[in-house]
């Protein structure tokens, strides 16, 4: 407590002098995420640790310049997030912003980082707008996005015979985007959507919505929601015998921490997509073990893995460039270098800022098949990155030459009927 009080005083006293040239003295990495709320487990302190592990791997400095990691809690509010980032860049000399789950905050942060010409490595947020109509030359979107999740899960389900769908959608832009993208995939693959309900954010009881899903007789119930909403829907589905009744659940955005919180008994059989799972191969296991030792035995989520890998790649680019003054130049260098790390393997960063790597379709294990508390997934299918992520030209990103200009109706109309949308789903 005293320490932080002193830090406050120091910050107050030091701020006027702090404006200039910190860039040359230290490389400062700012991990901005939810440290206390809904997403604290899948990002939170674990992301900070992941960033520190990347720094450690680079020897703690580049040349003679030491690397430092700071972090803050954006409480999932865009105004708090953008305020912290401004202050970090203006006062504290932070060079790169990392993680930032919650798409609304990430979009705000991306704008500030672009204005200040620093670097934003997005791992936590899902909105594919970050490399689409809101793309920026200063942003790299690493771990996953809504389009990739929708494609991986949606396609696989339809291929496995789940032709008719019903959606439980969180009633906000993110949920609607998930529903829209998945709907497009399902239709393109020859399936149909029988209906859906839009529920308010942070609903506790989903039984009513699930009954509606049940009476629709759809083969697959797509959960276009996140966090606590997803957990509560899966719990209620198990309790009300939805899965036993023959309908399947498809989690469109589920993290390993959610499955752990649910327990296998409830979550078994759920299909979901991730770009990283700790138990995938020897390398991911080794890294996760190291991470786990400092996190009280928990296992890392894909968001935390993405923080590690993106920071590592950023530092490699700095090493090659020997400067961090021009954020855009650093991102250009990151795009030039091929990515290679133990967690995501070899990959590339596209001109629109999208990191390309494989996505994996997993099924949640039955309790009998699990060998430990965190032994949760069974690999169903690997989808190559170029198939999982949205083709560059379809994102309407201004950085892409020859991208189709946005048709007049397309921007900012997520609430409209989910039927025919020109911008998504024309992959096939």
């Amino acid at each position: 407590m005293l320490r932080s009080a002193l830090a406050v005083l120091a910050a107050l006293a030091a701020s006027p002098a702090a404006h200039a040239d910190f860039t040359g003295k230290t490389i400062k990495i700012g991990v901005l995420n939810d440290q206390s709320g809904l997403y604290a487990d899948l990002a939170g302190p674990g992301s900070v640790l992941a960033a520190k592990m990347a720094v450690e791997e680079m020897g703690g400095k580049i040349g003679d310049t030491p690397i430092e990691v700071v972090f803050a809690d954006h409480q999932n509010k865009p105004d708090i997030g953008s305020n912290i980032v401004r202050q970090w860049i203006d006062v504290d000399g932070v060079d790169v912003i990392v993680d930032v789950p919650t798409s609304s905050v990430a979009l705000a942060v991306s704008a500030v980082v672009k204005e200040k010409n620093k670097v934003f490595l997005a791992s936590g947020p899902g909105s594919s707008d970050l490399t689409g109509k809101a793309c920026s030359p200063n942003t790299v979107h690493w771990t996953y996005d809504t389009y990739a999740l929708a494609h991986t899960t949606g396609q696989a389900e339809v291929a496995a015979g789940g032709k008719s769908w019903f959606f439980l959608t969180a009633d906000y832009a993110f949920g609607q985007a998930l529903e829209r993208d998945t709907t497009a995939v399902v239709k393109a693959a020859g399936g149909e959507v029988l209906g859906g309900v839009k529920h308010p954010l942070n609903t506790t009881d989903f039984s009513s919505f699930l009954l509606q899903a049940q009476s629709s007789k759809a083969q697959v119930i797509g959960l276009a929601n996140a966090g606590g909403d997803t957990i509560n829907s899966i719990k209620a589905a198990s309790e009300f015998g939805i899965v036993k009744g023959g309908q399947k659940l498809a989690g469109l955005l589920v993290f390993v921490t959610d499955i752990h919180a649910l327990g296998l008994q409830t979550a078994q059989g759920l299909l979901l997509s991730e770009s990283f799972y700790w138990d995938r191969d020897a390398k991911t296991r080794a890294w996760s073990k190291k991470w786990s030792e400092k996190m009280g035995g928990k296992k890392p989520s894909m968001v935390q893995a993405g923080v590690y890998a993106s920071v590592l790649h950023y530092l490699k680019a700095l090493k090659a460039l020997k400067s961090d003054a021009d954020g855009k130049a650093v991102v250009d260098e990151m795009k030039k270098l091929h990515t290679d790390d133990t967690l995501f393997g070899k990959g590339v960063i596209r001109a629109d800022g999208r990191k390309i790597h494989p996505m994996y379709l997993y099924e949640v294990k039955k309790p009998a098949d699990s060998k430990g508390e965190w032994d949760l997934y069974k690999l169903v299918k690997e989808i190559p990155g170029d198939q999982a992520f949205r083709p560059e030209k379809e994102g309407n990103c201004s950085l892409i030459a020859g991208s189709t200009p946005a048709p007049a109706a397309a921007p900012a109309a997520p609430a409209a009927a989910p039927a025919a949308k020109p911008d998504a789903g024309s992959a096939k």
Partner: protein
């Protein structure tokens, strides 16, 4: 100065305010050169918000549990006018404050028919409905909010994209709003409000149209809260659901309480304190919540008059 005979303290109050007023103006002018300017701007927006709220709770004794409605509605209105209609910032701000005032009139007409905790509940209910509207409405951008709001050129020549220009505009807005509130509180109108707070039946029996007074106070408070919200939208170039959430309504109560209920300077101190807490303790994660909670408990148990309430007791003069 006809009110002087009715309440001698009222005449005294402004005089005892001269020194603190001078200090306040000096602090506002110097602050951005010592502390991070964007932070001070945020603190000033919340300070104006808290002062506007204090007019209701501290002077008229009306606890509004839905003041985020006005703060948030104005920030949406201002941001929308600036981004979609390309209005000049001063017009956007006036528009935002006007929207808030109109909403204040509508809410006030409904709410002032009830007293005490019921008044609080009606304002809460209306604010929750507005939150729902904001979540659903197209122009608010749902949970993404309205992002990338241009600050623009005020009066055509003040370039608000420059930090220090923006700062002094915010400072001017804050001081203007504060001056209006200060004047209101120490006018005959303010005296009647206080009388209503102290003893409503007596005020009625003295022939005052109590509800009209309450309504005017409510609209004024809503309008100034809106001015604060609109300014915040310009500073952060963002209007979001946070501004209309009931947490914001709760926070403004806390600011006023910490600073000192019914003191003219207290809410400013409370707002700065809360903003600093949120900003500088962001590293502590959920300990921020714990700290905030502990401050609540401490204030209510041992520090009920708030910073300026205690100070005013020590100095034996109203602040």
């Amino acid at each position: 100065m006809s009110e002087a005979s009715a309440a001698p303290a009222a005449e005294l109050a402004p005089r005892s305010h001269r020194a603190p007023l001078a200090i306040l103006v000096a602090l506002v002018l110097v602050a951005p050169w010592v502390v991070y300017p964007v932070f001070v701007m945020k603190a000033l927006c919340f300070a104006l918000f808290a002062c506007a709220f204090n007019l209701l709770l501290g002077y008229a004794g009306l606890l509004s549990f839905g003041h985020a409605l006005f703060f948030g509605a104005a920030s949406y209105a201002t941001a929308h006018a600036a981004l979609e209609w390309g209005w000049r910032p001063e017009l956007c701000l006036v528009f935002g404050a006007a929207v808030a005032a109109v909403l204040g009139l509508a809410t006030g007409l409904v709410a002032i028919r009830r007293q005490g905790i019921y008044f609080a509940m009606i304002t809460l209910a209306l604010a929750q409905m507005f939150f729902f509207f904001s979540l659903r409405a197209e122009f608010t951008g749902g949970e993404n909010g309205i992002q990338g709001v241009p600050r623009g050129m005020m009066f055509g020549f003040l370039d608000l994209s420059r930090t220090y220009v923006m700062y002094y505009v915010v400072a001017a807005i804050f001081l203007l709003g504060f001056a209006i509130l200060h004047r209101t509180v120490h006018s005959p109108f303010g005296q009647v409000l206080t009388a209503i707070r102290e003893n409503e039946p007596r005020a009625i029996s003295l022939g005052y149209k109590v509800n009209q007074y309450k309504l005017i106070a409510f609209v004024l408070s809503a309008g100034l809260a809106g001015l604060a919200g609109g300014t915040k939208a310009l500073v952060f170039q963002l209007a979001s659901l946070t501004d209309v959430h009931w947490n914001t309504s709760g926070e403004v109560i806390l600011m006023t309480l910490i600073g000192g209920l019914g003191t003219i300077f207290g809410p400013i101190a409370g707002a700065v304190f809360m903003a600093a807490l949120e900003n500088y303790l962001a590293q502590l994660g959920s300990w921020v919540t714990v700290t905030e909670g502990a401050i609540f408990v401490f204030c209510v148990i041992a520090f009920r008059r708030g910073m300026f309430g205690e100070l005013s007791r020590l100095l034996k003069r109203p602040l």
